[in-house]
């Protein structure tokens, strides 16, 4: 399983900020990197003997929303990170946009009322039904590099 690093989140935020939304996307420099690093690492540190990437991705999505590392755009960042981490591990997200919106909002409210595990279950159920194995895969050498960088990020404490 390959996860995301702070470097990749920086790029996600740059891409999001180039799209025009009513609420602005904060710059990477202004977000709480300790919280973000924790949200990116913790789903991969949990016991997951089956190496279930869908469950780990669901946890990552919820952690990014719940950690509230940025002043705004946390849900937008979580959507892009979910899409990206699934792609990285050979899956394609095919959920309808309205459903994804509803789930992101539900995660916010469930976490607010202390039902974080329930939120993860909801997202996991969605991913089980609405993802499929990707037909195209990144080059194996490139995948190795991505994995190497992720392992370094997991072991280090550099916050970029």
């Amino acid at each position: 399983m390959i996860g995301l690093t702070l470097d990749s989140v920086r790029e996600h935020l740059i891409s999001l900020s180039q799209a025009q939304y009513d609420e602005p996307v904060p710059a990477f420099e202004t977000i709480n990197k300790h919280k973000l690093a924790s949200a990116l690492k913790s789903p991969f540190l949990r016991e997951n003997p089956e190496r279930n990437i869908l469950l780990t991705s669901a946890r990552l999505f919820c952690q990014i929303i719940e950690s509230h590392c940025a002043a705004n755009a946390n849900k937008r960042l979580a959507v892009v990170c979910l899409f990206s981490v699934l792609e990285l591990n050979g899956y394609e997200l095919n959920v309808a946009g309205v459903r994804l919106y509803a789930v992101a909002m539900a995660v916010t409210w469930l976490s607010k009322y202390g039902l974080f595990e329930k939120a993860i279950e909801e997202v996991y159920e969605l991913l089980k039904n609405e993802t499929e194995k990707s037909k195209t895969k990144p080059d194996s050498q490139f995948l190795l590099k991505l994995e190497e960088e992720f392992v370094m990020f997991m072991q280090g404490n550099d916050l970029g």
Partner: protein, 67 residues
């Protein structure tokens, strides 16, 4: 006069060089190298933004959905 200025600038450049080299955990970005993760993220986020343009717009406060 000219030679003194030149030697000063050479000395300060080499000091700066040493300082940069000694910084622990200097990220690749700072020396102009783009990581594989950043390269992948750049392309992947573009695909996500294209595929889920409306979802992201609603989450970003557009159309007052969820407000």
């Amino acid at each position: 006069m000219f030679s003194r200025n030149l030697s000063q600038s050479t000395r300060s450049a080499s000091t700066l060089d040493k300082t940069v080299k000694n910084v622990p955990n200097a990220s690749n970005r700072k020396v102009g190298k783009i990581s594989a993760q950043a390269t992948f993220a750049r392309a992947s986020s573009q695909r996500a933004i294209k595929k889920y343009a409306n979802t992201l717009r609603w989450l970003g406060g557009g159309d007052r959905m969820g407000r």
